[in-house]
Symmetry: C2
Subunit: 136 residues, 2 copies
DNA sequence: CTGTGTGCAAACTCTTTGCATAAGT
DNA sequence: ACTTATGCAAAGAGTTTGCACACAG
């Protein structure tokens, strides 16, 4: 964890973001435990539990800055809630409707083919595949 | 249009929904012009423009009732906005990020394969494929 | 008549913004 | 010092809810 700090600081610097206390803390929560899918609120709670004082507004700001910097990917699944995914590569999700939980689907299994070209004058920015599931 | 009314009334009845003035009007706006993708707000405006007095709350209620009845499909694309799609069969979308516009992709072209089974104890309710595009 | 649907306004949830204060370099 | 980030509280957008009134069967 503490070992990751230098690496994290570099990532932030490279992204043009000053490595402030808050950004480092949030960065550690996000990136030190494999792929994660968090909402702003969830991350805010985690920070609090970890004894890091961060305001919710800052969590939002930080998540968006990380996203612009390419460190995170935004996933829109449902209603108002926005999820941020630490896995920025092309991959798909299961979404558990009951629990509001998002889980990776290993991409290499899935085949998405014959997508038509983007409409005239536009280009594809992202392809989202969400498989909604619920308890039977 | 007026010809569709009997058909629409039957659809509503079959769904266990009383064919009220509002539901018939909204139903006509939704189903008489091919496949549509609307937000509650958009539909509300249209109703107003068509001289039909409906409150926004009723539009929301109606859209949800239609969705439960299987007449519509809910599509979550971005942030707070929920789109309702009159095409309830399996198909995919282009989403224009700039304009917030949703467009069908004819399914028969696209191939989505090797989806893993739904996680233990769950079943798939819907598969959403959204190709985000933006102006170049 | 009887029960379901509607309209309104207020409440709610998630997210964003503005501005004074604090921290990074 | 100078600039960028943060915190707070308030505003905003979209959606939902509760309750009195209206309409369909």
């Amino acid at each position: 964890m503490t070992d990751n700090n230098d690496e994290l600081v570099d990532r932030l610097r490279d992204a043009g973001l000053r490595p402030t206390r808050q950004r480092k803390s949030l960065g550690n929560l996000l990136f030190s435990a494999g792929n994660r899918h968090v909402t702003a609120e969830r991350l805010h709670e985690e920070a609090m539990n970890a004894g890091v004082a961060v305001s919710l507004a800052t969590v939002y700001n930080t998540l968006h800055q990380f996203t612009s910097a390419g460190l995170l990917r935004e996933v829109a699944v449902e209603g108002a809630k926005t999820y941020f995914d630490t896995n920025t590569s092309q991959h798909f999700h299961f979404y558990h409707e009951g629990e509001g939980k998002l889980v990776d689907i290993p991409t290499d299994m899935v085949l998405l083919e014959n997508l038509p070209d983007a409409p005239e004058g536009t280009k594809i920015t992202q392809v989202d595949v969400t498989v909604r599931v619920k308890k039977k």
